[in-house]
């Protein structure tokens, strides 16, 4: 039964990593839109991220799971279906992005204006400036915040067990019900989550040490 649980833990990790990848892309888009000078870009983005941050996570997960097909049907007149896994990924990456966009915005603002001006004065092209001068510094400022949000994302994956994704939490529930040992199995699941968290924290710290090695 422990093997079942460990397999399910891989599912949890996979879910979290896929959501992280999508979430980071979304976060860049959200923060770009929020910092845009175009009001029609800025306001929807601000409204969306504020709303996402204010809603209970479980509501977002249910809304996407039960509501996505409904909404797509209303919009397109077509029945399109998403598996629980992809609904989970969508919900988790949106939630991640809503918070990560804030972090990125803060980090971009934290890069001193002088850096950009200096690059301009040296005649460097704008894209080169962004990718080689601004972005590496943004990354350094954003990493602690993003690391935190990754840990939150990891814990939020437990919610998708409620829409039937066979993750660690779901498996723990199944084994608890059949073995009548809920304490043992939820406890074991908790320890596995804890182990993943601790390993992640070490990883983030090493990454942090790498990006700040010139400080």
């Amino acid at each position: 039964m422990l093997t079942h649980l460990l397999n399910a833990a891989l599912m949890t990790l996979g879910l979290a990593l896929v959501s992280l990848a999508f979430g980071l892309v979304l976060a860049v888009l959200f923060s770009a839109a929020e910092m845009s000078r175009q009001a029609w870009l800025r306001w929807p983005a601000v409204t969306l991220t504020t709303t996402l941050r204010g809603l209970p996570e479980i509501l977002v997960v249910f809304f996407i799971y039960f509501g996505s097909t409904h909404l797509l049907f209303l919009l397109t007149g077509e029945y399109l279906e998403f598996s629980p896994f992809w609904c989970g990924v969508t919900a988790l990456s949106l939630l991640f992005a809503a918070y990560a966009a804030q972090t990125l915005r803060g980090a971009l603002n934290a890069v001193p204006r002088g850096q950009r001006q200096a690059a301009q004065a040296l005649g460097l092209p704008p894209l080169y400036t962004f990718f080689h001068i601004v972005l590496p510094q943004t990354w350094r400022h954003a990493l602690p915040g993003l690391g935190n949000q990754w840990l939150i994302l990891l814990k939020d994956t437990a919610l998708v067990s409620l829409i039937g994704v066979h993750d660690l939490m779901h498996q723990a529930k199944m084994i608890s019900a059949s073995s009548y040992q809920p304490f043992t199995w939820y406890g074991t699941a908790a320890l596995i989550y804890l182990a993943i968290t601790i390993i992640s924290q070490h990883g983030v710290r090493r990454l942090q040490a790498r990006v700040t090695r010139y400080d």
């Binding site: 079942h4 999508f22 892309v25 979304l26 888009l29 799971y65 039960f66 097909t69 409904h70 797509l72 049907f73 077509e78 029945y79 399109l80 279906e81 998403f82 598996s83 992809w86 969508t90 409620l162 829409i163 039937g164 199944m174 019900a177 059949s178």
Partner: protein, 245 residues
């Protein structure tokens, strides 16, 4: 990102189209003896066996999927699956959302409680009972008994509710007679309280297989196969296997 989502959606849609030959059954496998997951993580039970027999008879390729009970009808509505066989009462509300096959099992509902504690339904009225979320049982209590003081708590499955009753969290459980019967046979110390309830407005006339509204072709195939199974005795032997008492 929107493009990615869209292409994912299209991918998902095209995958469904390619597998259109397969009939995807969905159930909530936490409802023995109708449907449950055995030690090998395989779905078993009367409904599953019946559906397999129906598929064999109608020469359909079938697969089975597990979901929460309260998301069965939405997932049919949005064509996530083709059919649901889940000990589901045929009720007027549900019949607005999905189409039902002929009745394949006649049903009633009962209260169970610790033996010797409540001698009639009236004695149970000021207490708390467990029901499965989204079932006719929940609606029945909400409409008919809540005003008389009966509290209900919603559970993901009847098994969860029964477990919480044995833990002393609930005074009783309100569920399908057949499910409770199976459980009572293994649990001394618990008993049925009052008469079985057969209110057609809530529990309909029995269980039916639900299909996406308008899928008449599948409905006809299932009904025809069901009639065959009933005629040649295969239904009866299945029934005997699961409900010997």
């Amino acid at each position: 990102m929107n493009k990615t989502l869209l292409s994912l959606a299209l991918l998902a849609a095209s995958v469904t189209a390619a597998q259109a030959e397969e009939v995807k059954f969905v159930t909530n496998a936490a409802y023995p003896p109708f449907e449950y997951v055995d030690d090998n993580n395989e779905m078993q039970g009367f409904d599953i066996d019946l559906a397999k027999a129906l598929c064999a008879q109608a020469e359909l390729e079938c697969s089975f999927h597990n979901q929460a009970f309260d998301s069965l009808i939405p997932s049919l509505k949005f064509r996530r699956y083709h059919a649901a066989i889940a000990a589901m009462d045929v009720t007027p509300e549900r019949a607005e959302q999905v189409d039902f096959s002929d009745i394949y099992y006649e049903n009633s509902a009962v209260f169970v409680a610790p033996a010797g504690k409540y001698d009639s339904l009236d004695a149970l009225l000021k207490q708390t009972v467990g029901v499965q979320n989204g079932t006719s049982h929940q609606k029945y209590i909400q409409d008919k008994l809540e005003a008389k003081g009966l509290q209900s708590r919603p559970y993901q499955s009847v098994q969860d509710a029964l477990l919480d009753m044995t833990n002393g969290r609930l005074d009783g459980v309100f569920a399908d007679t057949a499910v409770v019967g199976e459980w009572l046979a293994k649990q001394p110390g618990y008993t049925v309280v009052g008469e079985a309830i057969t209110d057609e407005g809530y529990f309909g006339t029995g269980f039916g297989i639900a299909v996406t509204k308008g899928n008449q072709a599948l409905l006809d195939q299932l009904n025809e196969a069901l009639a065959e199974l009933k005629a040649d005795g295969r239904y009866d032997s299945l029934y005997q296997k699961y409900f010997p008492h």
